[in-house]
Amino acid sequence: MWKWMVDFASSIAGLIARPPTIQNQHRRSDRGILVFHHTSEVIRAESLLKEAAFEVAVKGPPPELRTGCDLVIEFPLVSQLKVLSILDNARISPLKIVPMQDLLLEPVSLFHVKDFGDYLMVRAANMKMTVEKRELRIVNVSGGGCPDVPYLAENLVGRTLHEAPPPRSLGHTLCGYALQLAYEELLRRCTG
């Protein structure tokens, strides 16, 4: 059963979720997890909290917190009241708020990275973006299940990461959002 739970969590991001280590116990005690019913709430909440300069990160939930939405927001627990106030003003209600130290498993990273030699691919949730390393030119966009994926791909493939519009500016589906995360991760990895 335990192995099944770990496999299930890793299927979200293609990464194995590991039990907390001693080294990150301290960090975990400062962080909490906001669980939402719908992905759209996660996306709105993340935008609002980032605008308010909170250090938040969207992640895949550990199995014990899965509710049907594949994303949760990790946030600083010390800011819980302010965070909830911002969300309440936007009429967003988290299903649960859980201190990370109460979790058996950490949330998993959303990113899966694969190096193809001259090319680097980042998968975020259900979307993949691949760039040619030398010029940082986007050579492929795939994944999905959303109607705007071909549109996103047409607007991104052939452009460099610096020329390309942020995917979030092109599409507002979960695929556009996931692609934005992949794009930001590629920028972070390729341009420091």
Partner: protein
Amino acid sequence: MTDNIDARGLSCPQPVLLVLSKMKSLGSGVIDVIVDNQVGRENVSRAARSQGWVVENENQEGDDIRLTLRR
């Protein structure tokens, strides 16, 4: 002279990367690519156009799709 790429059974982005690598080594010419799904067809076609190649022909062959790329 036509170069052939069999990208059946490969998941994205591997068909595209095979095609881009071949385009880079040839510079110009004709490449026949076989893929086994519509997503692969769209991705290879898009990548080819972005590199200045033309998708000259698309043929459904059973479950497979053969693309002829030219530059």
